[in-house]
């Protein structure tokens, strides 16, 4: 057997790719198609219709929840991007400093920590300091979770960067801060942008942490959807889910275009 044959795409490879992607996408496609179903019975096809989208517009609670989610998402993603980028700079360029192990440990753990633990512990903190629960508590909780993802993305980009550019800027008389803003930041910008978008979608998706940390009357979109889903399948839910999928897909397309643009200018693509 030749070496070429060993690295070629075999029929087995093709079948596993086809089945894998079908498994990932068929459920979403079915969900989307049935959101355009005219029939009230979700599984009986009654022709194409957009009536469930129209009904969503009259669902004041759902719209209010969507607005809350959007505000929490934008605010927490912005905080998370600033804090996460700072953490990434410290970890990638700060050398060894006291407390570094604890620092990176605290930033790694939330990536895999079960959400029930994160949510409960944050709620107990908020209760202990007697802060009113609602928009700001959910935002702080989401910032904590998502800044860890931003740190990973920006840090791996910083590690790939050529440090001699920063050093050259400083040899030419830039202060470290000036070198960072004039040289480093523009080069890591695609990763920072990708970090923001990931933080935003994670916030938009989170059910468990938001359920723990929110207060009465301040529901996010997933909390609202969850309470409806528990009661069974409804075409309106298919419609709102379709809108969310479309929204997230749009964000990803923008993100990958941004990173492609930047990689065309020399850097490697941001690890989305």
């Amino acid at each position: 057997m030749s070496a070429r044959a060993l690295t070629r795409l075999s029929p087995f490879n093709m079948v596993s790719l086809a089945l894998g992607f079908a498994f990932l996408y068929v459920p979403l496609v079915i969900l989307i198609v049935f959101s355009f179903n005219a029939s009230r019975l979700v599984t009986v096809w009654g022709g194409w219709s957009t009536r469930w989208y129209a009904e969503l517009l009259n669902d004041a609670a759902m719209i209010e929840a969507a607005w809350m989610s959007l505000r929490v998402g934008v605010t927490s993603a912005t905080f998370a991007t600033v804090l996460g980028t700072m953490a990434a700079v410290a970890l990638s360029r700060g050398g060894g400093f006291r407390g570094r192990t604890l620092f990176s440990g605290m930033l790694n753990a939330p990536l895999v920590m079960p959400e029930v633990i994160t949510g409960l512990s944050l709620l107990l903190l908020f209760i202990a300091v007697e802060v009113g629960r609602g928009f700001w508590t959910v935002t702080a909780a989401h910032t904590t979770l998502t800044m860890c993802f931003v740190t990973v993305i920006v840090q791996s980009r910083l590690n790939d960067l050529d440090r001699s550019l920063e050093e050259a800027a400083m040899d030419l008389g830039c202060s470290p801060a000036r070198a960072f803003f004039a040289v480093t930041l523009p080069m890591i910008m695609p990763a920072v942008a990708a970090g923001w978008m990931l933080a935003f979608t994670l916030s938009l998706d989170d059910l468990v942490i938001a359920s723990f940390t929110t207060g009465p009357g301040a529901s996010t979109l997933p909390i609202r959807i969850y309470s409806e889903v528990r009661l069974g399948v409804k075409p309106q839910i298919n419609a709102i889910c379709t809108l969310m999928v479309a929204f997230v897909a749009l964000i990803i397309v923008i993100a990958s275009l941004v990173s492609k643009l930047s990689s065309a200018r020399g850097g490697s693509a941001a690890p989305l």
């Binding site: 992607f21 009986v44 029930v116 050093e167």
Partner: protein, 303 residues
């Protein structure tokens, strides 16, 4: 040389704000979980009696330490409900992780054989569902698995079954939901490892007379084990504490520990027991968490 030293000190200053944030919102909350897990349930708001409080100084601490309550932890050991919940969680997470390796590996392997352009597209295709809400993906499966759902329709049309089967509220549904939701977490690290493998090693294996299968088991598989490990941890740890998937797809019989915690907190309003559950879950997951932290650190700092 001098320049990079120059950059280190200001870079460390950047650590201050995120450091303080993580201490306040990640580390300090564990103190409260521990504190309340050692308290007793009360009918009040908040529904627990504080049993120790650092603000009262050493004297207060001594007085409180005498009456600290390990009652909640005793309950977790005595009551079968909790023991079975933990066991079920670990078993479900382990079985799911195994299924994920078996299903995810061929997909990642196939992706690593694609040309670079197709690889980028395939990556994007794996990432899109990863960015879509867990809740939506589970809801999509409820659509398919319900009694008059698509799965039963298709199976009956193909005359494989004559009457609709019950899929929803079974362990099968839960496993489908978990594997579906976590597949990207398995495929991405596996793909990252497999696509970096040196093709010349396979050429060497071929030159030495390996068949395709032998080359895979002797070269590719051992070299991809770090990716398998990373993917397995990335799935195993969060699945153990999973709440949404078993809640919406599994039956109401046995519960996973995430559901038990949720129920104690939101339904029974027993905050001390919920906290004790969280503390024990954290202890159960401590070893995998530490291994994951090491892997992650190696990956980000080895360059």
């Amino acid at each position: 040389m001098g320049a990079s030293r120059n950059f280190e000190a200001p870079a460390r200053i950047a650590a201050i704000a995120p450091y303080l944030w993580m201490v306040l919102f990640f580390l300090v909350p564990f103190y409260f979980i521990l504190k309340i897990s050692l308290s007793q349930t009360a009918i009040a708001q908040p529904p627990y009696e504080p049993q120790f409080d650092l603000s009262q100084g050493l004297e207060g601490l001594k007085a409180a330490a005498a009456q600290l309550s390990v009652e909640n932890f005793r309950l977790l050991v005595i009551d079968d409900l909790y023991v079975f919940s933990y066991l079920r969680s670990v078993v479900v997470a382990a079985v799911s992780t195994l299924i994920l390796v078996v299903l995810g590996y061929p997909v990642a392997y196939g992706m690593s054989r694609l040309s670079r352009g197709w690889q980028a597209l395939a990556m994007l295709a794996v990432i899109v569902p990863f960015w879509t809400s867990f809740l939506i993906r589970i809801y999509a499966w409820i659509n398919i698995l319900q009694r008059d759902g698509l799965l039963n329709d298709v199976l009956m049309a193909l005359r494989i079954i004559s009457a609709p089967l019950v899929w929803l509220s079974t362990d099968t549904a839960m496993y489908i939901g978990i594997v579906y939701s976590y597949l990207p977490f398995m495929v991405l690290p596996l793909f990252a490892t497999l696509s970096k493998l040196d093709a010349s090693l396979l050429e060497a294996a071929a030159d030495l007379g390996c068949s395709r299968r032998q080359a895979f088991w002797l070269v590719t598989w051992p070299l991809s084990l770090p990716g398998v490990g990373a993917g397995a941890l990335l799935c195993f740890i969060p699945i153990t504490g999973e709440f949404v998937i078993p809640d919406l797809l599994a039956g109401s019989g046995q519960m996973m520990i995430g559901q038990t915690l949720w129920g104690e907190f939101f339904t029974n309003r027993d905050w001390p027991v919920a906290s004790a559950i969280a503390v024990v879950l954290l202890i159960v997951l401590l070893l995998p968490l530490l291994v994951y932290d090491r892997l992650q650190r190696k990956q980000l700092e080895a360059r």
